[in-house]
Amino acid sequence: MKHSFLDRYSDLGSVIHRLDPRVKVIFFFALILVIVSTPPQEMARFLGYFLTLLILLLLSRVPFFYVFGRTLAIIPFVLLAAIFIPFFKGGEVAGSYNFLTLHLTVSHKGLLILQNILIKSWLSVLSLTILTSTTKFSSLLKALEILKIPRVLILIASFFYRYMFLLVDQIMKIKNARDSRSFKSNPLYQLKIFGYMIGELFIRTYDRAERIYLAMLSRGFDGSIHTLESFKIKGFDLYFLGSLVTIIFLIRLWR
């Protein structure tokens, strides 16, 4: 079975795709820092960041709706964490509601915080989505490695990327095996079967990890993973990085 739900479109050959991955990592992280540090009232600046991202997205030729859809996935989590803030924050009251005995007030300050959180998290996720849709996961890992991100984190991500697909396959296979022999629809019974499935998956994963470790040992693994650096930074990359970082700082600091 084939899946590519993580870095789909990362094979396109646009200007953005061809940039040195390190340049992209540095730029997008700088952008996120700038976004997060922008005061909440200054909507024009947020619009500026959005337009910058939009231009990058258009240049990359990754379908807009694909990226847009991906970014929406984060919204429920943010909402879940932030939706109650307007009700609890003190300050000038924007409106109050009565539900039977419950009296709720919404403050302007609280609403501003909610709006701030939503905008910043959405723009940050948009940045990261553009980064991952224009960079192959393996290049991204290598870039992070060169940029001195702790190796253990990179290894975990690397193994996760390599074996996630296999894990999904295995889940599907177990599920198919269950469905092809499943006659009872008693929910309690189904739950029990589900428990067995998770256990089975755990054992298989554990066994596989053991075998992978053996395969690593047999090729001289001594506790630390070494890979070859294979990026060459071009003049264009630096020019691109320089001008984009200047643009976002201008947007951030313009008076």
Binding site: H3, F137, F159, R162, L214, M216, R219
Partner: protein, 233 residues
């Protein structure tokens, strides 16, 4: 001819108490291709894991290229006797084909340029050049098997240990793997149920059952069905 592998009275019991090898003795000569056959659970793969020092038994002695299996020799032995696992998903664990093939070389401490050259050369040989930056999950099963072979061959070992090199392949992929293995003039120790492949590739057959070597001989054994049946095959 020199003995490249010497196994003397090797016994091994898995930590959970399952006996796997019982007084196995076997010598392999340089350049020889040996096929180890036998029913499932006969101890074939366990024996293979010993030859590369992954499993170590206190009972019995193994010498690879004259070196006893000690932790001091281990690095050297692993670069000379390379093991290819049955399941390519276990053998290929890095994010890209290139990284996977380069893994052993980089661990041996080769220069970056040399690593690149060697990886490129071996990928041309298995007819997979241009796939360097692919992830293993984007390859077909046959391609994965070939890359697995490449990860071991790139280290230019003296001895290649193969666990079921033709399992789960379609006919074309199987033929390609066999043809490729025929071109390699190193010592080969092949564990398999694929008797036709063993017959094509090996000069000597070792039959194992219940942890013991019960017969060694030439490929004539494979032609006698009744004999095979009596050996538990």
């Amino acid at each position: 001819m020199d003995k490249v592998v010497e196994i003397k009275n090797l016994s091994y019991t898995y930590p959970d108490g399952t006996p796997a090898l019982n007084e196995v003795s076997l010598d392999v000569m340089e350049g020889e291709s040996i096929g180890i056959i036998g029913p499932n659970g006969a101890g074939k793969s366990t024996l293979l894991l010993h030859l590369n020092g992954i499993l170590q038994s206190k009972n019995g002695a193994i010498k690879i290229l004259g070196m006893p299996l000690t932790s001091k020799n281990m690095r050297n032995i692993r670069s000379k006797a390379c093991l290819v696992f049955q399941d390519p998903e276990d053998q290929l664990f890095m994010p890209t084909v290139f990284d996977d093939v380069a893994f052993g070389l980089v661990n041996l401490g080769y220069e970056a340029e040399t690593v690149r050259e060697k990886v490129e050369k071996i990928l041309v040989r298995v007819d997979l050049s241009g796939r360097e930056n692919r992830s293993a999950h984007h390859l077909s099963f046959g391609e994965k098997k070939l890359v697995s072979l490449a990860t071991a061959l790139v280290m230019e070992p003296e001895i290649i240990l193969l666990d079921e090199p033709t399992s789960n392949l379609d006919r074309k992929e199987r033929r390609e793997i066999i043809e490729f293995l025929q071109e390699i003039d190193k010592t080969k120790i092949i564990v398999s149920h694929d008797l036709e492949m063993i017959e094509q590739l090996c000069q000597r057959i070792v039959v194992m059952n219940k942890g013991k070597v019960i017969l060694t001989g030439d490929t004539e054994i494979l032609k006698d069905d009744n004999k095979l049946k009596s050996l538990g095959l």
